[in-house]
Symmetry: C2
Subunit: 350 residues, 2 copies
C-alpha cells in the first residue's frame, strides 16, 4: 500500500513527466531531469532523517533480501577474522544468517527462537566480540510483529540494521548504525530495489568477488547511476518522501503510527479472546500479530474481515493467526476500522 | 521508449488492476493475480521465441550489467579451468570483461578494438578452448551500432549472449545459446531488471559466493519469486509481450525493423556527407551510428533535430557523432522522419 496522493500523481503524469512529453520510465537515467530526481530523493531522505553528513544514501538493485548477501560482501572483509554476529529475531533475520553463511564465520549472537520469537533478546555489550566485522539486527520483524525499541551497544563494531519494514516510521538516530538498509516496498516505494545508508568510512572494504552493482563503494561513486537503475522505483520513492514531508515528517508520522498500533493493541489487551504473539514491551508498531482461540474462529474472522474490506490479514505461514500491517501509508481510520471489527467479532463469537 | 498502447494501459489501470481495487504495484507477489502475471509473461516469451522446453526463463534483479557479474558467478565454475572466453565488440562487451575479472581466468578471444569497433571479429571454431566454461558475446552493440548476424560455433562450450539491446527484435535460434540475458529497458520494459534464458543443464553450478538472488538455480526454483521482485517491471514486460504478439510476433517486427534500419542506412550510403561508423555487413538494426564532416555541423544537426522533434540522437561519448536508436517500439514513421531530416540537412549544409 502506497499513499493515495502519490498513486494519483504517478498516474496523472505517467505519459508526460514534467512536461517533457515522455514518461519518467522512458527518460534516460543520465538526463538532467532524472539526476534531479535521484538527488532530490537522497537529499529529502537526509532532511527527513537528520542524517549526519558522513553517511551516504544509495539505491541498490534487488530488495531487502539482496542486501542479505551484499552486507557480508561489503563488510565482512573489514576484520581479518571474517566474523559477523547476527541476532535471530524472526524469519527474515534467520534468512539473513543463512544468506551470509558463504562469506565468513557467521555467529548467532542471540536468538529468541526458543520462545517462538516472542521477544527481542537482551544483548550484553560484553558479549560483542570486538574482533567481529559487524553486528546485524532486524529492527522490525514483519512476520512475528516485534521490534527493537532501543538498539544494542556494539562498541567499535558497526551495527547493521535491516529496517525494511519500519524505515521512516519512527525517529531513529542513524549515527548508532554503520549501515541501515531497507527494501523499498513497505514504507518507501515499489518492490525490487533497496535503499542503503552507510557511514562513509565503511566503504571500500568489499570482498573482490562482490558484483560491481552490489559494491556500495561503486554505487556511491556513481551516485546510484553506475548502470541504469530502476528509475521508476526511485521516482516513486521521491514522491513518497515528499508526501511524508507534507505529513509533517518522521516525528509526525511516528505519532500517528503509535496511535494506530495502540488502537489495535488496546483491543487485544482488553480481551481474553485475542492473544498477542509478542510480549508487550517488544511489540512492533508496523505489524500487529495475534491469535484467535482456534482455527475455526480464525477462518470466520478472516472471511468476515474480507467482506468488511479489511484484507491481507492472514498471518504468515510460520506463525498463523492474524497479522495486521499498518505501514506509514495506512491512515488511522484503517486501524480504527480493524479495532471495531475485532470488538464486534469478539462480541458475537467470544 | 515503450509502445504507446502499453503506456496508456499502464496508466489506465494504475489505481485498479484487474478490478482488484489496488494497484498492480500494491498486490503481493505471492497473490494468485501476480503469479498469473509472471507465468503469463514467461509463457508468452516462450511462445514468441519458440523457446525449446529445456530452457528456463527467469527475472533477475538489476539490469544487464548485474548479469556481467551473475554470468561468471553461475557458469565459470563448470570447468575446473575457471576459464571464460569473451569477444570484445564495444563498450558493454568491454565492461562485461572487466566485471568478470574477479571470478576466474578471463580471456579475450577476439576484439575489434584496433579498428574502432567497426566490425564483428571472425571467430575460428578451432580457437575455442574446449576446456573453457563459456564463450560470451554481445549480440548487438548499442554504442558503436554493430551486431552479430550469425553466431560463432563454440562446440560443447556454452555460448552466452548479451541481447540487452536487441532481444525480440529478430528471430533467433535460442538453442544456439546456453544463456541469453537482456536488461529489460530496450525492448522489454522498464529499467532495473533483466530477463535470463538458461538451458536447464547449466543450472546448479554457481560458485558458493553467488548471492542467492543472482543464483539462477535459486531463482528458477522459486519461479522468479524467491523474494519480492520488481513486480511493476514484470507486469509492464507482460504488456509489452502482448503488444508484440498483436504486431504479429518477432518475425513481423523483424521485417519492420529491417525496413526502419534500411530507411536510414540508405541515406548514409547515398551520401558522401554522412559516414557510417560500422562496416555495412555488421550493422545493427537497433542502433544506427554515423558521423558528420565536423563537430560544428554535428552541433547544428543535433540542434535542428531536437527542434524537429527528433531527440536522443547524440552519440555516446566514446564514439561521438550521431546514434539513432530504433528499438521495437519506434514505428517506421520515426525512421522515415529521421531519414527525411538527414536528407534535408545534407541538402542545405552539404
Amino acid at each position: 500500500m502506497l499513499p493515495e496522493p502519490v498513486m494519483v500523481r504517478v498516474k496523472e503524469e505517467f505519459l508526460n513527466y514534467g512536461g517533457l512529453g515522455a514518461s519518467v520510465i522512458e527518460i534516460s537515467h543520465r538526463a538532467k531531469d532524472f539526476v534531479a530526481i535521484v538527488d532530490g530523493t537522497t537529499s529529502l531522505f537526509r532532511e527527513l532523517t537528520g542524517l549526519p553528513a558522513d553517511y551516504s544514501v544509495l539505491f541498490v538493485a534487488g530488495g531487502g533480501r539482496m542486501q542479505f548477501s551484499a552486507v557480508p560482501l561489503n563488510l565482512i572483509g573489514r576484520s581479518p577474522s571474517r566474523k559477523a554476529l547476527y541476532v535471530e529475531t524472526g524469519v527474515f533475520a534467520a534468512n539473513a544468517i543463512k544468506d551470509a553463511a558463504p562469506y565468513g564465520d557467521i555467529k548467532v549472537l542471540a536468538s529468541s527462537r526458543d520462545t517462538g520469537f516472542d521477544r527481542i533478546p537482551t544483548i550484553d555489550p560484553a558479549a560483542i566480540d570486538q574482533d567481529a566485522s559487524y553486528v546485524h539486527i532486524t529492527t522490525n520483524n514483519t512476520v512475528y510483529g516485534s521490534r527493537w525499541n532501543t538498539f544494542p551497544e556494539t562498541g567499535a563494531v558497526p551495527l547493521v540494521g535491516d529496517q525494511t519494514s519500519e524505515i521512516l516510521s519512527r525517529v531513529i538516530d542513524f549515527s548508532r548504525f554503520g549501515v541501515v538498509y531497507a527494501g523499498l516496498q513497505k514504507n518507501l516505494g515499489p518492490s525490487g530495489s533497496a535503499l542503503v545508508v552507510i557511514r562513509k568510512d565503511l566503504l571500500g572494504q568489499a570482498l573482490p568477488v562482490t558484483p560491481l552493482l552490489l559494491n556500495y563503494a561503486s554505487v556511491d561513486k556513481g551516485n546510484s547511476l553506475v548502470n541504469t537503475p530502476s528509475t521508476f522505483n526511485i521516482y516513486v520513492t521521491w514522491l513518497v518522501l515528499q508526501w511524508l514531508k507534507e505529513q509533517g515528517g518522521v516525528a509526525a508520522i511516528e505519532a500517528v503510527n503509535e496511535k494506530k498500533a495502540k488502537t489495535v493493541y488496546d483491543v487485544i489487551d482488553a480481551s481474553s479472546f485475542y492473544k498477542g504473539v509478542v510480549q508487550p514491551e517488544h511489540r512492533s508498531r508496523m505489524n500487529v500479530t495475534f491469535h484467535l482461540p482456534n482455527e475455526e474462529l480464525l477462518g470466520l474472522f478472516l472471511k468476515g474481515a474480507g467482506k468488511a474490506g479489511l484484507s491481507s490479514l492472514k498471518g504468515y505461514r510460520d506463525v498463523g493467526g492474524v497479522r495486521a500491517s499498518i505501514y506509514n501509508a495506512m491512515p488511522l481510520e484503517g486501524a480504527q476500522a480493524l479495532a471495531a471489527y475485532m470488538k464486534e467479532f469478539e462480541r458475537t463469537n467470544g
